[in-house]
Subunit: 477 residues, 2 copies
């Protein structure tokens, strides 16, 4: 139980903090739709003003132009700035994004998505952006305000990086971070990103890893045009036959990757690490509920978690250029592109994986004895990221969670990618931590996105307490 | 060289016969487009009148209704009738279709597709339906007229079956043929269908076989909805992984079907039969030109021909429910349907093939150890058809070709299906022969469809001479 003055202030000013989130949610800052761009810009201006009210120095940094829906548009600016410059204090960089996913009532929302709805019966705060990522950004503002209102000294220097394009590929941000690594972010000691979710609904998490990705397109082409299977079946080498033969050699139905050299590069599991997964507060049933069927590869909770978090995976996504409609069509597709991707974990590097995949597929294709032509292309590659949970950054957050929630956080890794995490880690060379505010069932990119009021309030306290804990945690490092 | 009076009449009245084909081509009887339906009906009326001018008794038989482009329409009627009823003569049923494929100048035609164009330099008659199938129907009419103008007795009784829905699934025709098997077609001794093409451009063909078809849809489903591969990769059994594993066991890149029991049911090849293929006037280069690439499984002409004509084939057509767009999408499809089909030859029966495929795929799926669900469905099945080329029907046609063209026809089988052929063979229990008029490069369903004038004129003579040959051929049977 946290009874610090700033926490008490937060409890006593809940209505004010809810009103702040309401204001933010009701600006429909959808970055992926050109017609909403003025709202994204307005949201950035609103956020800049809120931060400036707290005394922060904020620059609105133009990121150039983009073409969207056939129009050339200015990218929404990034907000870069600082609060505090005491050389005796540690400096923490806080990241968030003020843009949101698209949403429409007709998608199946119970309430207007851009009308903030506080359901007092369930304690849920509904609205697009409530949990992704306006709630967490408001959390930082709330915490700083609470410090100031209660004359609590903020024991760290803060740096801010808020963007308006996260839901649309974070265009322009990587270059900005690399540039500011020698500018605004030069003194940063640690980074805290609050933009993901607890694994479940009851236990707070700290996230220390993300999988990387190598996405492949495998083209097999033969005839000059699609052929009729009656006329050319058993006459030509069919690209689809070759593709199915080749892709059947990528991964087993049990998820084991068959490309030689991949599994060998995965860091071996330690007993200590396995225990981390066993300790995570989630059940097989939670997974089966999320999947909607009992189709997990393993029925051991820790194995399922490790399948997502600490082992690579290979998924076949589809085929371009083949028949994909309903019913039947007797076509021999002349040229097809099979798509698959590999999720990467340390020590797998996308370029190395590309080499392994290229060599393997070319060797296997040669064995087919087909006269068709193979081309293997890596469409995109992103490295995996894992941070040390022994760093003071994580300890400060762990202690904060224990103080606020009275329970130890689960240490989680995400199966997917949040590319900006890796950018911060590589450009700054500092510890990066993901400290989620919302729950696993918040529906971030789905309909009826919500943030539980308790997560908003206790999450705000957690962010504040984390900052308060930094000096002691860093001192004992 | 044929110097019979009817043939001389044909040579001397070429302009009249060309004018008849022009009239037919310029009625745009597209059966697959509701807005053209009145033209299809008009074409049927025109054809009925032409036949009646020759003294034939023709009934216009309504075939019921269909829904097309959102409208309920009357199906174009079938024309059923007779010319001659002499019990001492053999009775030959002639089939053709008076509807055509869609066509538009914008598809890449050099001339308006429904404006008949006689290119005198190349001797080509351009227009939609010129070769498929108005040229051959005019051929029958021309030949009968030539007999009548030259007082040549027609030594057979004729029965007619002309439909207006062949390009749109021959709706209603099967029922009609089965019914008329005990009516108008009760006395039929043999059937002649002129609705396919020579294999190449120089040697006339007689076609005695068609492959059948078993079309399969293989559903594999697991999760309740599509999943994110970052979050669920290596967590769930992925339907796509199972599908690729399963389909890789269907056929080799060399076209060998791996479903046990299929190859065993294919009639063994005799030396005599192999010689038929070696004698066919076509080269590997002809195939490579049609395919647009050097990707034939075999480089032996006879093997290539047999791959198309006398062996089964298995083609994988595509996947429904997976990612099929351009670029990359990191989805784990929750439920997919793989589509493949097997072309059937004697003695493969679609129902038996269905049983073999069902059992094989279920057995192989069980070996995968996947928790997903498999469902195998045969969407459609059609039997193969092979006729005896020793029948007098074929001998009458062979002799006619030798007389008219001065060369022996190639005996061919088609790799695809013409379902009505099998219907005639089964409903009437008589020999059915395909006697093509046009060449392999006529572009039947493509742009710039044409019929060479020489094929039109010599083809007309061939149809006539075939009828004249029937009594002698039948007598020596």
């Amino acid at each position: 139980m946290l009874d610090a003055p700033f926490a008490k202030w937060i409890d006593e000013h809940q209505d004010e903090l809810i009103a702040r989130l309401k204001e933010a949610v009701e600006i429909p800052s959808v970055s992926g739709d050109a017609s909403y761009r003025p709202h994204v810009v307005r949201m950035g201006e609103w956020l800049k003003a809120e931060l400036e009210k707290l005394g922060a120095e904020i620059r609105s940094v133009p990121l150039g132009k983009q073409v969207l829906d056939g129009q050339e548009l200015d990218l929404p600016p990034a907000l870069v700035g600082s609060l505090g410059n005491d050389p005796k204090k540690k400096t923490v960089l806080v990241y968030g994004h003020y843009d949101v996913q698209p949403a429409a009532l007709s998608d199946g929302w119970k309430h207007e998505p851009f009308q903030f709805t506080h359901d007092k019966e369930t304690g849920r705060l509904y609205g697009r952006g409530s949990t992704d990522d306006k709630g967490p950004i408001m959390g930082w503002i709330n915490a700083i305000q609470a410090f100031q209102e209660t004359k609590t000294e903020i024991p760290v220097n803060l740096r801010f990086c808020f963007e308006g394009m996260e839901e649309s590929g974070s265009e322009g941000l990587e270059e900005l971070v690399i540039k500011e690594a020698k500018g605004e972010f030069a003194d940063v000691d640690a980074v805290c990103i609050s933009d993901n979710y607890w694994l479940g609904t009851t236990t707070p998490c700290l996230t220390y890893g993300l999988r990387g990705l190598s996405y492949f397109s495998v083209s097999i082409s033969g005839p000059a045009a699609d052929l009729h299977s009656g006329v050319f079946g058993n006459v030509v080498h069919e690209p689809m036959t070759d593709l199915f033969d080749l892709f059947s050699k990528l991964v087993t139905p049990q998820g084991k990757i068959l490309v030689p050299g991949i599994n060998e590069k995965v860091a071996p599991l330690t007993d200590e690490e396995r225990k981390l997964y066993e300790d995570i507060d989630v059940t097989l049933g939670d997974f089966e509920q999320a999947i909607g069927a009992k189709v997990t590869i393993s029925e051991d909770k820790a194995e399922v978690l490790m399948g997502r978090m600490r082992y690579p995976s290979l998924s076949i996504h589809g085929v371009e250029g083949a028949f994909s409609g309903q019913g039947g069509k007797t076509v021999i597709p002349a040229a097809v592109k099979g798509k698959f991707s590999i999720r990467l974990v340390p020590d797998l590097d996308p370029d190395e994986v590309n080499e392994l995949v290229q060599k393997y597929l070319k060797d296997e294709f040669a064995k087919l004895g087909s006269k068709n032509t193979l081309k293997v292309e890596m469409l995109s590659g992103g490295k995996p990221w894992v941070a040390s949970i022994d760093h003071w950054n994580f300890r400060a957050a762990k202690d904060a969670i224990e103080t606020v929630y009275g329970k130890t956080p689960s240490y989680t890794r995400e199966g997917g990618s949040i590319p900006i995490t890796l950018t911060f880690a590589e450009a700054l060379g500092k510890n990066v931590m993901l400290l989620p505010m919302g729950r696993g069932d918040d529906g971030a990119h789905s309909t009826n996105e919500k943030l539980d009021l308790s997560n908003y309030i206790e999450g705000t306290k957690t962010l504040g307490q984390y900052l308060l804990n930094v000096p002691a945690a860093a001192a004992s490092a």
